[in-house]
Symmetry: C2
Subunit: 593 residues, 2 copies
């Protein structure tokens, strides 16, 4: 080793020890008689002290060294005069005897500091310098810890990590695949997996019983702010279980992770049906860090000649605690907010429950104080609170109120990134009708099992389909599907799988697959189900997202060592890029204009 210690481990008890450290110059301060250098490595920062009086040559040499130079420094640990309580090594410094410059550095394009002056594009281009910043590095260290404790938990529960292939087969169902031309099989392509779904089910058919994998997956989607073409999943599957077993197993995993990584006891996860989540939060991933549930007001507000409410399919309200004294301007802001196209409401009704007990609303013409008192009672509003009400079509109004609720949560400081609220959302619809395609799609995926009590609905739908009468008015069976939601983010989801070939065939029919198509796409799975498939169920967690949540961050990008930008480019290595004609020829493909 070129060093005896790291830059993070020396303490007062080491005083007098001769040491050799290696690292980068974080900064240096020339105080005339003394020069101090902060030497940085992954483990911390240690102060080097050079004295002009005692060693003028070395001190003069040190003064010429620039930021980010790589040094090997020998010296003796000494107690500092001015201790720095902010860093673990702050009680000591190194009285330097010799400096070897291991490598020089030109001036970085941005400062390697917590608050860097580098813009996003520049930091991505020089990601290897960005990764020197303590916060980015600690994000990746956190990621390692989350992976480590995930494995420890699953190993202890008898799960086996099995690597499934990356070069697989393209399936048109679902998102777009990345494909890989096969040189040895001209005209044919591999696809990169969007998830190891079918493989993990096959492993259950094989009797692996409990499988997991922390695995890269790929989706060629148009990238939104926080999506990456390659992402990582914690992918799991179990046999001979029911939904309850899976919920308990992975509730245990998340409890374990919070305990080990964050030192937080998150307790038992509440469970909420999809129907309730939509009714009370207008979202299948409610942010339950704060309450502010929706109150349905239809029975209370209709028939009072206020046309907006009378015509509305749904009138819902939320109670913003302590906001009765919002100014006109603040209320106008909220009105503008709900009218934004991405929120989609046509207007906002509000009612103040003033601290003096009086009530005042934007619809006083239609509702007297007694009526408003009824609203307040329904919404559990108290003096000092502000009631916010939206009305309109059911889905649209719930969606808009979800946005308004989150906005109010943010304004009221109820969405602290270091507070964690987890829950299970259960009983998702099995299918959803996609207007543009004019047919039903699997809400989760085609292998998800309906709830046993809803099985007759499958046959009803198939009959309607046969009769050419299947449309969105059909009663959709609920699925044995579940999502884990933390702080309003879906971090994981899964389902009990269909393990019966006949039911699986029915599902494919409902999803518009012909027998031939189903056989072509999923024949190997359907065949496998002929040879004794066990009951099984599983779950997958978005690992990048889980890490960013643990790190209290909004973006997953800071938790990925080398992320791609919104055009799917790695600007550091400049990929993708053109390839040689010879490569194209060998792959039997050509570029098209």
């Amino acid at each position: 080793m070129l060093r005896t210690h790291t830059c993070g481990e020396l303490r007062l008890e080491h005083a007098g020890t001769a040491v050799t450290l290696c690292g980068w110059i974080q900064k240096s301060r020339d105080l005339g008689g003394m020069t101090f250098i902060d030497l940085r490595d992954r483990y911390g920062i240690t102060q080097l002290a050079l004295n002009m009086d005692s060693n003028a040559e070395l001190c003069s040499f040190a003064r010429k060294l620039g930021r980010e130079y790589v040094l090997k420094v020998a010296g003796v640990v000494k107690e500092r005069e001015n201790k720095n309580a902010n860093i673990p090594t702050g009680a000591i410094e190194i009285e330097v005897n010799s400096i070897e410059v291991l490598n020089e550095a030109i001036t970085p394009p941005f400062t390697i500091e917590e608050n860097t002056d580098g813009g996003d594009e520049l930091r991505m281009k020089y990601r290897y310098l960005d990764l020197r910043r303590a916060s980015v590095r600690s994000n990746l260290q956190l990621r390692h810890q989350v992976a480590r404790h995930t494995r420890a938990y699953l190993d202890q529960k008898d799960f086996i990590e099995v690597e499934t292939p990356v070069l697989i087969k393209s399936t048109p169902e679902g998102a777009r695949d990345f494909v890989v031309p096969s040189r040895m099989n001209p005209g044919e392509f591999y696809a990169l997996p969007q998830s190891p779904q079918t493989f993990k089910q096959l492993l259950m058919v094989s009797g692996f019983d409990r499988y997991y994998q922390i695995v890269k997956c790929f989706r060629d989607e148009d990238l939104r702010a926080d999506r990456q073409p390659e992402f990582t999943q914690i992918d799991c599957e179990m046999s001979f279980v029911e939904q309850e077993d899976v919920l308990n197993m992975f509730e245990g995993m998340v409890q374990h992770l919070f305990k080990e990584v964050k030192g937080i006891d998150i307790g038992t996860l509440p469970r909420m049906t999809y129907a309730d989540a939509m009714k009370y939060y207008g979202s299948d991933k409610p942010d339950t860090r704060f309450d502010m549930r929706f109150t349905e007001l239809n029975t209370l507000v209709k028939g009072k000649n206020f046309k907006v409410f009378d015509d509305a399919e749904l009138v819902i309200g939320i109670c913003a605690k302590g906001c009765a004294d919002y100014t006109r301007k603040q209320v106008d802001e909220l009105t503008d907010f709900v009218k934004k196209p991405q929120v989609g409401a046509t207007g906002l009704v509000y009612a103040r429950y003033n601290s003096d007990g009086s009530l005042k609303s934007s619809v006083d013409k239609f509702y007297d104080e007694a009526a408003l008192k009824e609203w307040a009672a329904a919404m559990q509003a108290e003096p000092g609170d502000l009631m916010l009400i939206l009305a309109g079509p059911l889905h649209k109004t719930r969606k808009a109120m979800n946005e308004l609720r989150l906005e109010m949560g943010t304004r009221l400081g109820l969405r602290d990134k270091n507070t964690f609220s987890c829950l299970w959302v259960l009983d998702f619809p099995l299918l959803e009708f996609i207007e543009e395609e004019g047919r039903f799609f699997a809400m989760h995926h085609p292998f998800t099992s309906p709830k046993p009590e809803d099985l007759p609905l499958i046959d009803d739908m198939l009959e309607a389909m046969k009769a050419g009468k299947l449309d969105e008015s059909a009663t959709v069976p609920r699925a044995n599907a579940y999502d884990m939601v933390i702080n309003g983010v879906e971090v994981g989801g899964g389902s009990v799988r269909i393990f019966n070939k006949d039911l699986q065939k029915k599902m494919f029919t409902l999803l518009g697959f012909s027998d031939e198509e189903a056989q072509k796409q999923f024949g190997f799975l359907l065949n496998a189900f002929e040879y004794g498939a066990p009951p099984h169920a599983g779950v997958a967690f978005g690992f990048d997202r889980l890490c960013s949540l643990f790190g209290g961050a909004d973006s997953i990008r800071d938790f990925i060592a080398f992320p791609k930008n919104n055009s799917g480019r790695d600007v550091m290595i400049d990929a993708p890029s053109s390839i040689a004609d010879k490569q194209l020829d060998e792959l039997s493909i050509a570029l098209k204009n």
Copy 2:
């Protein structure tokens, strides 16, 4: 859970316990009054007992159930009359009260037994059934253990696992890349990584200090018997270290793995230079489970009018212990063996050191018994041994003798798969001259550091290059590169890296890159080296191969859950396959005839 216990955990102490088991029917035996079913899951096999007398209905029902049916069985644990000492559950059986058929099974295309009647192609097509066989499953369980203990060791040594990207940039140096057309960047392609080499070096520039990753890598090569287009590496890199530190760290890792996974103490790893490996074993990956080193005989055998030896650049011999009584037929077999084109010798000279102390050779005309005694002394042959001698050009003869040595090792039973002999091979040549290309290539990769004492040779080669006089006669510098060899298999290799931009540029020049090409291909790495790169070094282990070695197997395929065949096909899912025209259009590519 559908079960109370697994099929592997019940013992005599459970007698009297009511249990529910789930699993597959391994086999059933109908003994008239009794029917026995072996129920199998991942954890083991438990015998179910059904009695025609006490429960005729259930027993009759059970007799109709076929192999591989999936059952849920309730019953009571009972001591067996005829215990089976071969399985851990052999002392008990389950007196069955009820059977639920969870799933039926049609007859598998091959028997799910250790010695299956399924051929390779059939087993691959139905891999999900092949994986039910205990040996294949235990291979994958072993793989999981090797991964687990690898991570435990590296975690404990402060290594951080960092995921590097899978969608990267194609580089023409090295093996052929798999490429991925980018839909969002028409005409451009990602490449799948052959290794995370440049990324791990960038992580060192970033100050990550100690990195590892168990990671999929990809190579579009023509597949030989035991190569896969996707394979897994244990990829590692360290900063502020010298070669000695890396050797110690990863020697420690392999010792740890043998200890934890196999319960074997492999002791300290011997070290051998590349030069010695070639001289004594004719291979840079000597199988050191047995000795039988080469003895160079030039000084001993030349000048005795035997033209074959006199004309030969090199005459080498090995001593086959106890083989003096090989029959003429056996010796002829060896002669045929060395003459095979892939071995490449022109003939074999042998000398028997008979048990009675007499000596007899195939070249008695030229060498008398006294001369043969000298050979014997040189080769440490004793009465009863057979000396085998090859002669010819240096490289060719060493290569042929390596093959003959391995053949003799096999014949003599010296290559037991459950004996392990590990070593480091050091001081590889930095470059090798490739005849067909007429230039030097990096033996390891272009980032490998020369040994410091051989640095002047780099400048000599560059001068010769400038003068147009660089050819294979050049003295090639040795590299700070090392391979770990176990039982004649290279399981890992690595090097100290170049961390100086100027030296890296020189290397690229020697490898025939223009400045522009080097900048285009590796600009991001060369640039990174400008900003303070630390001294660093690393290693990568072939994980599939390591697992197969631990499992005592020759083929890696049995240690991969879903391997591809020699045409790169996954015959189970039928990939690669054609894709829709719409997909091609979206990717701006077309098929070429």
